[in-house]
Every structure is written in structure tokens, then in C-alpha cells.
């Protein structure tokens, strides 16, 4: 009796604490979504409006489609730029991530089966990721400008590819390590080349792991800010940069518009993250955590 009472108490305390943090974790996201549906008079009203009243789509229509009839003139930052940025972001993040996973998984296979990189080298590879990008961004932009890669998709794809490669190698290696070796040995005896073994046997076997790695790295490249800020200027902008253009414009604070754009940037990422939620720990922990 006493024991079951105590158990119920711990359960209640647990729910209270977890719900407490849940509210803190969710409130800013709720606020962003709520603000994106508010008409301009409620963006910073006092007392604050917690729910849009009445909800309106004008922020979305204005920001994403530059719909003039919805643009209360003083807040209008028209043009269809965000849609172009969305396309840019998709192409850049998609290509860089694809390259990273493709190259990374082949490399991971080499490391897992033939130790083409020693453990020391594998950890040194992590340096590519752990050195803050700010320390190379200035010379990189100068170097890129001499190569004509500044303000181009290729430049950004190249550097994203390099900086996410360590994650790709480490993460896919943790999946490849789990594949039993016997299958490949059978293929080898049957005379399959090494490349065929990789692309037709090993990689298909870790399909779900590759998808998880792809989405995981997509999260990193999609939200990258500093490199995109410096390397892209006018021709190519990614979504995070597009959003930062709304800051400090002469029109003053345009919270509703910002929120509408922010929701559009964040929701795809959240969906992706929730799809691979079981693999997130693996991606972040460099083989230190197994399940």
C-alpha cells in the first residue's frame, strides 16, 4: 500500500516536471505560429494577444507570394524572393547532403571493412566540424571570389559538403558496422566487384540508415547561417538569409511577416526531425551511443 502510494506520487511529480518543461519548450513555437496568423494591429499590442483574432492568412500571402491586395502598404516587402530562396535552399541543402551521404557512406564502408582511416584519423576528421566556421569564412570568401564561386550555388554546396562529411561518415559507419560480413563475402566469392558489392548489397541493406543520415544532415545544411550570409550575396540566397533581411528594415518590426516566413522555414525541418527522431541520438553521438 505505502509502496504503491509512493509510486503514484513519483508519477505525479514526473508528469508535473515534464509538463512544465514541455510548456517552456513549446511556448515559443506556439507564439511564432500564432503571430503568423495575426493581423498587423496585434503584432505588439498591449496586453498581448495570445491567439490571433480573427486569424488571417495575409502574412503568408504577402511574404510568400507577394500578394499586393493583402499588403497593408507600410509593411509590404513584396516580390517573390522567398519562393526563389526556397528553391535555392532545397537545391543547395539537397545536393550538398546527397553528396555528403554518398561519398560518406562509401568512405564509411572502407573504414568499417578495410580501415582505410585509422581511428585517430576518424577523430581528426571531426575537426572539420568542430572548428568554428567563423575562423575560415573571410579567407574563404576571398578565395571563392578569385575562383568565381562567390554568390554561386556550387561554392556553398562545396563547403557544406566538406563540413558535413564527418557526420555522414560517422553516422553511416555505425549502420554499416551492424551489417553481417558474410553476405559480402558470399558476393565476393561469386565474383562481384567491390563497387558492385557496395552499391548493390551493402547500401541497400542500410537503406533506412541512409535515409536517416540524409535527413539528419539536411537539418544541418538547411539551417546553416554564417557561411550562407557571407558566401551568398544577391544572386543566391537561402531561406535563413532571406528571413534575416526582414530585420532592421526601415518599415520597423514586421513580426507577423517574419513569423509567416519563419513557420515556412521551420515546419519542414520539424517534420524531417520527427521522422528520424529515433536516429537523432546516433547522428549526434559519433558511435558513442548505441540502441
Amino acid at each position: 500500500m505505502r509502496k504503491s502510494q509512493r509510486r503514484r506520487m513519483t508519477a505525479i511529480v514526473r508528469y508535473v516536471l515534464l509538463t512544465g518543461w514541455g510548456v517552456i519548450a513549446f511556448f515559443p513555437i506556439f507564439w511564432m505560429i500564432s503571430t503568423s496568423f495575426k493581423p498587423d494591429t496585434q503584432w505588439f499590442a498591449w496586453p498581448p494577444f495570445y491567439f490571433p483574432h480573427p486569424p488571417t492568412l495575409s502574412n503568408y500571402l504577402n511574404v510568400w507570394f507577394g500578394a499586393e491586395e493583402y499588403a497593408a502598404t507600410q509593411y509590404a516587402i513584396s516580390s517573390q524572393k522567398p519562393l526563389i530562396s526556397l528553391l535555392n535552399s532545397t537545391i543547395i541543402a539537397g545536393t550538398a547532403t546527397l553528396l555528403s551521404v554518398l561519398f560518406g557512406s562509401v568512405m564509411a564502408y572502407g573504414v568499417s571493412r578495410y580501415r582505410i582511416l585509422s581511428e585517430t584519423r576518424m577523430f581528426q576528421l571531426l575537426m572539420l566540424r568542430m572548428i568554428p566556421p567563423i575562423v575560415i569564412v573571410a579567407p574563404l570568401s576571398l578565395y571563392y571570389s578569385t575562383l568565381g564561386l562567390l554568390d554561386s550555388m556550387t561554392g556553398l554546396i562545396l563547403i557544406y559538403f566538406l563540413t558535413t562529411l564527418p557526420y555522414a561518415v560517422w553516422m553511416t559507419k555505425s549502420f554499416i558496422d551492424e551489417v553481417p560480413r558474410e553476405i559480402e563475402q558470399a558476393a565476393e566469392i561469386l565474383g562481384a566487384s567491390r563497387w558492385r558489392t557496395i552499391f548493390e548489397i551493402v547500401l541497400p541493406l542500410i537503406r533506412s540508415g541512409l535515409v536517416a543520415t540524409f535527413l539528419f544532415i539536411l537539418i544541418l545544411t538547411w539551417s546553416e547561417y554564417l557561411l550562407a550570409l557571407i558566401i551568398t550575396k544577391t544572386q543566391v540566397t537561402t531561406l535563413p538569409i532571406e528571413l534575416s533581411k526582414y530585420q532592421g528594415t526601415t518599415e520597423g518590426r514586421v513580426y507577423g511577416r517574419q513569423a509567416a516566413l519563419a513557420v515556412g522555414i521551420t515546419i519542414p525541418l520539424m517534420i524531417v526531425g520527427l521522422v528520424i527522431r529515433k536516429h537523432l541520438a546516433r547522428g549526434f553521438s559519433f558511435g558513442m551511443v548505441r540502441r
Binding site: 508519477a11 573571410a138 517574419q258
Partner: protein, 326 residues
């Protein structure tokens, strides 16, 4: 395990022709992977590091004509930077910011993970809610924070309503609390990271030692300190190290929200380097600072990697033992 990973490499001498051609094939395979990587590093990273070194010893700003004509100034720039109090403060701020947010993330992440270590009704729901902040783009975090934290904004309103007192701190414009505010944002943003790896670590702890301790009559508290915590050490380590390194490099939130202001209150190393290079156009000074920061980070990273490797080896040994026993 490592022996099995190098098949046949351990019998080098009396290898058959078939075995030798196999070895050759492996070597070819190895280089066909490594060569592109080396080329990539040589063509992208090496010139960048070289340029960085060049600018550290040559005074150049964008107004001074072509960069290759810049004047050689020896160690002058290094002296400038090392005697610049703003740089010193940026170092202090960065270290304080990284330490504070690392501890914050760890405490919250660990508490949540510990509360959720056993299955319970609604676990998946809480897990989903808890990882959402991590999936928010950092720039979005910054702008949403601005919407929430202005003086008559919703956060102050909520706190005032709940507590009944008129609570109106100027989160973003008071120089004394601007940096802690950004630190809170960092914790909100990345506590989920500590949470998920600590939760995975807790779930991977073998049951046997804990049950054995229970049978021996150890208290809950002692089991936690003397059984669970030591087994969890590698993962705790990982959570702390990675978070610290990432916090040292934090730029998007700090910049998008405050650009180093008010005054210089949130001027961390990345922000100061960014300002020097892209607003004052002192490319050379920025390069020197970058070099110093890079050296500092390399020292920290090498140290961290050493410790991580040691922990990983002990973890590998533990899993190997578990596999052998099971």
C-alpha cells in the same frame, strides 16, 4: 573486433597470387576513396589556411588596392590583437557563454532524461515535444525571441500574471542581462541535444549491475551515484564536450538578435571577428583573431578528442564484454 576488420592482412608473407591480387584490389579501393578527399582538402581548405596566414602578417583592408600588394608588417598585427581589451573581453564572454549554456543544457537534459528513462504512458508525446526546439532554425529562434522578449511582450506579461508582481526586465536592451538572455536561448535551443544523447545512454545501461546492487540492498541514491553514473560517464562526457564546442562557435542567434549589442554586452568571439572583418573591414586583424581562435579551439578539440577516444574505448570494452556474456 579490430582484427576482424583487416581480413587477411595478418598473413602477409606466404600469400598466394590470388591473395596478392586481392590485397592490390583493396589498396586500389582505398586510394580511390582517399584521393578525392585529399584533393578536396588540398583545393579548398589549404588555400584558405594559406590566405589566412598571409593576412596575419600583411596589413590589408579592402581600401588598400589588391590584396597581393599588401604591406608586410611582421608580428605587429598579433601585438595589436593581443593588446586589444575588446578581444580579451570577447574571449571572456565566449568562455562564460559556453560554460554557462553547457551546464544549463546538461542539467536540464539530464533531469529530463532521468525522468524519462523508463517507459511510461505518454513518453513518445513528451519526447516529440522536447526535441522540437532543436529542430528550430537558429535564426528563427533569434527572431521569435525578439517577438517574445520585448519589454511589454508576452513573456513579461505571462510572468507578471502568474506571479502577481509587475515583472518587467529589459531582456534585450539591458547590458547586464543581454548575455544571460542569449545564454537562455542557447539552452532552450540545445537542451534537447543533451536530452536525447543522455536518454539513449541511460537506455543502454545494462540492467544486471543495477539489479545486483538492489539485491545487495543498496539505496536508490547509492545506486545512482555508484552504479548508474559511472556507467554513464562516457555519454555525459560527450554531451558536455560537444555542447561546449558548439557554444563556443555560436553565431546565428547572437548576431541576428543583438549584433553584439547593447554596447558590447553580447560581443562573443565569433561576433567580434565578424564585426572586425565585415563592418570595420580590417581583414588582417580579423585574420589574426581567427588564427588565435583557431589555435585555441584546436587545443581544446585535441584535448576533447583524446578524452572522447579514451571514453569510447572503455565503452567499446563494456559492450564487447556484454556481448560475450550474453
Amino acid at each position: 573486433m579490430s582484427v576482424a576488420a583487416v581480413p587477411a592482412a595478418s598473413i602477409p608473407s606466404q600469400a598466394s597470387p590470388r591473395e596478392r591480387s586481392r590485397q592490390r584490389a583493396i589498396r586500389r579501393f582505398r586510394w580511390s576513396i582517399l584521393v578525392p578527399l585529399i584533393l578536396l582538402l588540398a583545393f579548398v581548405l589549404l588555400p584558405v589556411l594559406f590566405l589566412q596566414l598571409y593576412f596575419s602578417f600583411h596589413q590589408w583592408t579592402v581600401y588598400l588596392g589588391s590584396w597581393w600588394d599588401a604591406e608586410y608588417v611582421g608580428l605587429d598585427l598579433f601585438r595589436d590583437v593581443l593588446t586589444d581589451p575588446r578581444f580579451g573581453w570577447a574571449v571572456v564572454r565566449s568562455l562564460a557563454f559556453a560554460t554557462g549554456s553547457t551546464i544549463g543544457c546538461f542539467v536540464i537534459g539530464f533531469a529530463l532524461a532521468y525522468l524519462m528513462r523508463r517507459p511510461f504512458h505518454g513518453q513518445a508525446f513528451y519526447y516529440t515535444i522536447f526535441i522540437l526546439p532543436m529542430l528550430t532554425v537558429p535564426v528563427v529562434v533569434a527572431y521569435t525571441a525578439e517577438m517574445l522578449l520585448y519589454q511589454s511582450g508576452p513573456i513579461n506579461d505571462l510572468i507578471s500574471r502568474i506571479s502577481g508582481i509587475d515583472f518587467k526586465p529589459m531582456w534585450l536592451t539591458d547590458p547586464n542581462i543581454a548575455l544571460p538572455t542569449v545564454m537562455l536561448l542557447e539552452i532552450w535551443n540545445w537542451a534537447p541535444f543533451s536530452f536525447i544523447i543522455l536518454l539513449a545512454g541511460l537506455a543502454a545501461i545494462p540492467r544486471e549491475p543495477i539489479e545486483a546492487a538492489e539485491i545487495l540492498g543498496a539505496s536508490r541514491w547509492r545506486i545512482f551515484w555508484e552504479v548508474e553514473l559511472p556507467l554513464l560517464r562516457p555519454v555525459i562526457f560527450l554531451a558536455l564536450v560537444l555542447r561546449f564546442l558548439e557554444a563556443m562557435a555560436e553565431f546565428p542567434k547572437t548576431w541576428a538578435l543583438l549584433q553584439g549589442g547593447p554596447g558590447t554586452a553580447t560581443e562573443t568571439l565569433p561576433v567580434y571577428i565578424f564585426l572586425t572583418t565585415w563592418q570595420y573591414f580590417e581583414i588582417s586583424k580579423g585574420a589574426v583573431m581567427s588564427y588565435l581562435v583557431m589555435l585555441l579551439m584546436i587545443v581544446i578539440v585535441l584535448f576533447a578528442i583524446r578524452l572522447l577516444r579514451r571514453e569510447k574505448q572503455s565503452l567499446d570494452a563494456m559492450y564487447a564484454g556484454q556481448k560475450a556474456a550474453g
